[in-house]
């Protein structure tokens, strides 16, 4: 399986600030996904990061709040903008797994907004 490295792994952020999460994969992948997991909740897809074009956002998520970059086939960033306590979550970078249409998750970035 691919090795996914996320930075930061954990952070405490002030409300109103923005934070960029970086995701590096050790091999080229076509599809990269960003998920959010709020405390004690399930996993929700934020967007699919497309190489060379704008990300595809899911309902309820907008580019202004969660801008995403995908400059190449091994790297992506997710920015959480103008954070509020409601943005306290685990943000998970993921790629398509070895078994088709499954998801392989990175270790996540645990953000707390105070």
């Amino acid at each position: 399986s691919a090795v996914i490295s996320q930075k930061p792994s954990r952070d405490i952020c002030q409300r109103g600030t923005s934070l960029t999460i970086q995701c590096q994969v050790d091999s080229q992948v076509t599809m990269m996904f960003w998920y959010r997991q709020q405390p004690g909740q399930s996993l929700t897809l934020i967007a699919t990061a497309n190489q060379g074009s704008e990300a595809t956002y899911e309902s309820g998520f907008v580019i202004d709040k969660f801008p995403i970059s995908r400059p190449n086939l091994t790297f992506s960033t997710l920015t959480v903008s103008n954070m509020s306590p409601e943005d306290s979550s685990i943000y998970l970078c993921s790629v398509e797994g070895q078994v088709g249409n499954t998801i392989y998750f990175g270790e996540g970035s645990w953000l707390t907004v105070v």
Binding site: M31, S42, S59, I90, E96, G97, N101, T102, F105
Partner: protein, 112 residues
């Protein structure tokens, strides 16, 4: 939109007892997947079921996909403390992995 519900939300068992979590989708699925998330960890893929009525086993874990492809179950025989975590099902309606909908999850606690 598609909803995938799991019951129970939480279960606490004594080590050695059996455990079952149930997953129900509001729509017919192409496949169902199961993931496990240990406390403080990230979700890890366990298995994928594709065929109606399919049953798969992984050691003490038995996974079933319903005949109508709208429900699934995960049964753990003789639980161990290493089984602690949250189990998520995820339903796929055609398309690619971006069309996965994760269930609400069942948190399992196992004590000695």
């Amino acid at each position: 939109g598609q909803q995938v519900m799991q019951i129970p939300q939480y279960q606490h068992v004594q080590e050695g007892e059996d455990f079952t979590t149930y997953c129900n989708s509001s729509t017919t699925l192409s496949n169902i997947q199961w993931y496990k998330q240990r406390p403080g960890g990230h979700p890890v893929f366990l298995i994928q079921l594709v065929k109606s009525g399919e049953v798969k086993k992984q050691k003490r874990l038995t996974f079933q996909f319903g005949e109508a492809k709208k429900n699934s179950s995960l049964h753990i025989t003789a639980t161990q403390t290493t089984d602690v975590g949250t189990y998520f099902c995820a339903g796929l309606i055609g398309g690619t992995a971006s069309k996965l909908t994760f269930g609400t999850g069942t948190r399992l606690q196992v004590t000695l």
